[in-house]
């Protein structure tokens, strides 16, 4: 596997996103809430005349809510099925090259993490969880359904 990885921190955990899926990293300022939407949909934001659906990764992983009150949040913009999403993360760190193919994680993680896991990859800075973007976006409800 020679796909680049974007290392981000979600809920204090360093995880890897497939860098190819990430279009850009942005700082969100205004957030327009979407009333009645699933809780992990933090709202809408605009990026260069495009509407982004903002996903609160912590809520999607059922690890509590990201505090959006202080304004600017870092987010990774991904495209899925023609829609653009901004995934709110704590910190965006770096792009690295994986040193291994993803391997199954052989220890029980939180249910949220289990759902988005694509396995564990070795990197220079140690093993990281490779996160699948789609279940992250569909949130906890989709799994129940």
């Amino acid at each position: 596997m020679n796909e680049l990885l974007l290392i981000v921190t979600i809920a204090g955990q360093r995880v890897a996103l497939p860098a190819a899926a990430v279009e850009s990293v942005v700082e969100l300022d205004t957030l327009i809430p979407v009333p009645r939407a699933a809780p992990h949909v933090a709202g809408l934001s605009a990026l260069r005349s495009r509407v982004l659906t903002v996903i609160d990764c912590m809520r999607s992983l059922e690890l509590g809510a990201t505090d959006c009150s202080d304004g600017i949040r870092e987010a990774a913009v991904v495209e899925l099925d023609g829609h653009h999403y901004a995934l709110i993360v704590d910190v965006v760190e770096d792009v690295v090259e994986p040193l291994s193919e993803p391997t199954p994680v052989r220890v029980a993680m939180g249910p949220g993490w289990e759902r988005v896991s694509k396995g564990m990859v070795e990197t220079e800075s140690g093993p990281l969880l490779l996160v699948d973007v789609a279940p992250l976006i569909s949130g906890a409800e989709a799994r129940a359904a």
Binding site: V34, R36, A37, S49, T53
Partner: protein
């Protein structure tokens, strides 16, 4: 047809060009199966198309080539040199013929039989291969159209949409920062170009609805054959253009409706004959554009839909309560066909009638912002009408807000906007749910803040009610905090997680670059708990008693300016207007109010008019109008108690109990009788006076006096008899008038015989006018 031929030419030419290389390769290696296949496909396609277009020569040629190649493909024959040459010669001839068709020329009458014979096994010496010539004829007139992939068009469209949004953002930045005039000018030009480009690209995505219609005759033919019926399809308006995406969206609903029409609508031939109809049933499909909508009518002359059967079925499956069922109007009965789980087919057929169908049709049509309506006369046929918007991407919308968040509502769904505290609106709470009464009609009312779970800063009474009619027909009122603006919004589909709420139809960007959610009115109603289907029925319940007891008189209960509780028969109230107090003035002997262009006598001004706004009923007796000032409307009610008449005829004709309290009943007749004065006489029984049209003195000075006495003034050109003619000379023909008054300009009479009147002798003039009018009218 011309278009189809052009398509055929373009397609054939394209294939010919692509084939150019293949032919050469095949010639080099006649055993190459894939080359053989592509050449076979070409002649096969040409043959098929020729049969359709009636090009017998082309057909014969391609047919012969196809036969020969089919033999080769089946291994019955070996592709030897002469065969290859013969096939190539045929292909060349096809190319030439297609060029001739394209140029609209008659193809030189040659005999093709030599070419065809050359295809026969063992034939010798066909024309030498001239593959190059094909390419030449292809280039001789370059095609004026090119084929593009739909994805490319979609990409261009979405780029243009983005460009519009980017332009909006730039416009906002320019507004915020002071810019030079020249920059503004350049931006204006850019804007105009972008707008034009958007138009153009929208058009490129337009497709003729014919593409949807071409498949119908075949479908109907197959269906009717299967069902043992005879059905003719009549298609009209195939040249109407519609967004490509839209065409795809209506394909299924349209197909389904037509299947239904053939399966359930059209009767078997024997039954049709018995009913006195032609054996052959007719399904006509027509499309037309109306504003920014496309209307597609599907009409059959079959047995129609029996509303009562539908009702019975609905009762059976428990869709409807018996009480409600009795009150359905014929239209509502028919609308039941769109309910899930209802099918009138007595037996399930393979084609339709599984009870899934019309509800799916409706939801599919509604999803694209369309409406489907049904109209049917039992025994005569059914008409289904699909109304769909022209395009999906640009939607006129109204922006509203709640708290500080903006939302958009598609304008097509908005019926009207009223203030919650407006005089014609009352808000009630029924078991905690809102019911708004707007001009006497009860509609469910839901607060947007409640649906969205947002805080509203504005008290209920000060909100605005947006009356919505979601695709489908039933209205409800949505209370919003503020109404902002009408805008044309470029709407994009929202992410699935957002759409899952069922509330939104998409997202868009406002001018300030912030995202706005576009509501789906039907979804709002559903989430808000408005039962749309039930609603129409219960609205009828509300006015049901009124129609049942025909004697009950609807009255408008209001409070007069003097504070008295009064009622006025609803029938005489045309509408309610609000005028500035300055529009009410004394004029010509009584109080009058100016309403728009009209000046009407004003009644009811028995109290303080107030300083700013006065509310006025506009009363109409069919011929004349008067105004009636009042303070506020209390309610709409009916007189169902005894009316105690007043002793003397006056403004109030009696008192009665309305809603448990006494109210004075205003006598509209008395109002008109007393406030209209002379103008009350309708023109029919008014005496007619003819004045010379060309005489300015007559027209300007005399006419008002004559009219004040009660005459209707006509000019010279009036042909009929006049009751009175006023003239300044004796030459006017007296015969046509009952009486003539001659006016003279000198004070003194010319002689004893002179019965003319001095034109400033007002008293004499008035006496003459009144005595002349005495014979008729009053």
């Amino acid at each position: 047809m011309d278009d189809l031929i052009a398509d055929f030419v373009a397609e054939s030419r394209e294939m010919l060009e692509a084939l150019g290389g293949e032919i050469v390769a095949w010639e080099a290696n006649p055993d190459d199966r894939s080359r053989l296949d592509s050449i076979f496909r070409f002649v096969h396609t040409v043959k098929g198309n020729c049969g359709f277009f009636e090009f017998p020569r082309l057909e014969a040629l391609s047919h012969a080539a196809e036969d020969a190649l089919a033999d080769v493909r089946a291994g019955r024959r070996h592709a030897d040199g002469p065969l290859v040459s013969a096939v190539l010669a045929v292909i060349d001839r096809i190319g030439e013929m297609i060029s001739a068709i394209e140029a609209g020329e008659e193809f030189p009458a040659e005999d093709d039989s030599a070419l065809i014979d050359a295809l026969e096994p063992g034939a010798e010496g066909a024309a030498a291969p001239t593959a190059v010539a094909v390419a030449d004829t292809g280039r001789s007139s370059a095609p004026r159209t090119i084929r593009l992939s739909v994805e490319l068009l979609d990409r261009v469209m979405s780029t243009v949409s983005d460009m519009v949004l980017a332009r909006n953002e730039l416009a906002r930045r320019l507004r915020e920062a002071p810019t030079e005039v020249s920059v503004g000018g350049a931006f204006e030009r850019l804007s105009a170009i972008i707008a034009e480009m958007r138009d153009a690209i929208t058009r490129t995505r337009m497709q003729r609805i014919e593409n949807l219609f071409v498949a119908l005759p075949r479908m109907v033919r197959d269906l009717s054959a299967e069902l043992g019926k005879q059905v003719l399809v009549d298609i009209e308006g195939g040249d109407v253009e519609l967004d490509r995406e839209m065409i795809e969206m209506i394909r299924d609903p349209l197909t389904h409706i037509i299947r239904n029409a053939v399966d359930h609508g059209i009767e078997p031939p024997a039954e049709r004959l018995k009913a006195g109809k032609r054996e052959i049933g007719l399904v006509s499909v027509s499309a037309r554009q109306s504003g920014n909508q496309i209307l597609i009518d599907i009409q059959d002359d079959g047995r129609g839909i029996d509303g009562k059967k539908l009702v019975a079925k609905a009762l059976d499956v428990g869709l409807l309560e018996r009480d409600d069922a009795a009150r359905l109007s014929p239209r509502e009965q028919l609308a039941l066909i769109f309910e899930a789980g209802l099918s009138t087919a007595s037996e399930v057929t393979a084609i339709s009638g599984r009870g899934v169908g019309m509800d799916v049709v409706r939801s599919n049509v509604e999803r694209i912002g369309g409406i489907v309506e049904v109209d049917s006369t039992p025994g005569e046929g059914t008409r289904m009408t699909l109304r769909v918007p022209l395009t999906l991407t640009i939607i006129p919308a109204l922006t509203v807000s709640i708290g500080n968040q903006h939302f958009a509502i598609p304008r097509s769904a908005i019926v009207e906007i009223v203030r919650a505290n407006g005089e014609s609106v009352t808000l009630d709470s029924v078991g905690g749910a809102g019911v708004a009464t707007i001009r006497g009609i009860r509609v469910p009312e839901v607060a947007l803040s409640a649906i969205l779970g947002l805080e509203s800063e504005i008290p209920e009474a000060e909100r605005n009610l947006v009356v919505l009619r979601p695709a489908g027909g039933d209205v409800y009122a949505l209370a919003v905090d503020r109404i902002h603006d009408h805008e044309e919004l470029v709407v994009k589909p929202a992410a699935p997680a957002v759409m899952a709420t069922g509330l939104y139809a998409g997202t868009t960007l406002a001018d300030d670059g912030s995202p706005i959610l576009l509501f789906d009115p039907a979804g709002l109603a559903e989430v808000g708990g408005v039962k749309l289907e039930v609603q129409e029925r219960s609205a009828r319940v509300a006015d049901g008693p009124a129609t049942a007891t025909a004697k009950a008189v609807s009255v408008l209960l209001f409070r007069g300016l003097d504070g008295a509780r009064r009622a006025l028969r609803l029938a005489v109230v045309d509408r309610i207007e609000e005028v500035p107090a300055s529009a009410i003035k004394h004029g010509a002997g009584q109080l009058r109010v100016q309403l728009g262009e009209a000046i009407l006598p004003l009644a009811g001004a028995n109290g303080d008019l107030g300083k700013e706004k006065v509310r006025v009923f506009r009363l109409n007796d069919g011929a004349h109008e008067i105004g009636y000032a009042f303070r506020e409307v209390i309610d709409l009610s009916t007189i169902d108690n005894e009316v105690i008449p007043a002793d003397n005829p006056a403004e109030v004709s009696g008192v009665t109990l309305i809603a448990g309290e006494p109210a004075e009943l205003v006598d509209a007749h008395w109002l008109f009788a007393n406030h209209l004065g002379t103008s009350a006489r309708s023109s029919d029984d008014q005496p007619i006076c003819r004045l010379p049209s060309g005489d300015p003195w007559m027209q300007n000075m005399l006419r008002p006096i004559v009219e004040a006495v009660g005459y209707r003034v006509v000019g010279d050109e009036h042909d009929g008899d006049a009751d009175l003619v006023i003239t300044s000379g004796r030459e006017d023909g007296r015969g046509k008038a009952a009486r003539t008054i001659v006016l003279r300009s000198e004070p003194e009479a010319a002689g004893a015989k002179d019965d003319s009147i001095y034109r400033y002798d007002r008293a004499g003039l008035l006496i003459a006018l009144k005595s002349a009018g005495g014979g008729k009218g009053k």
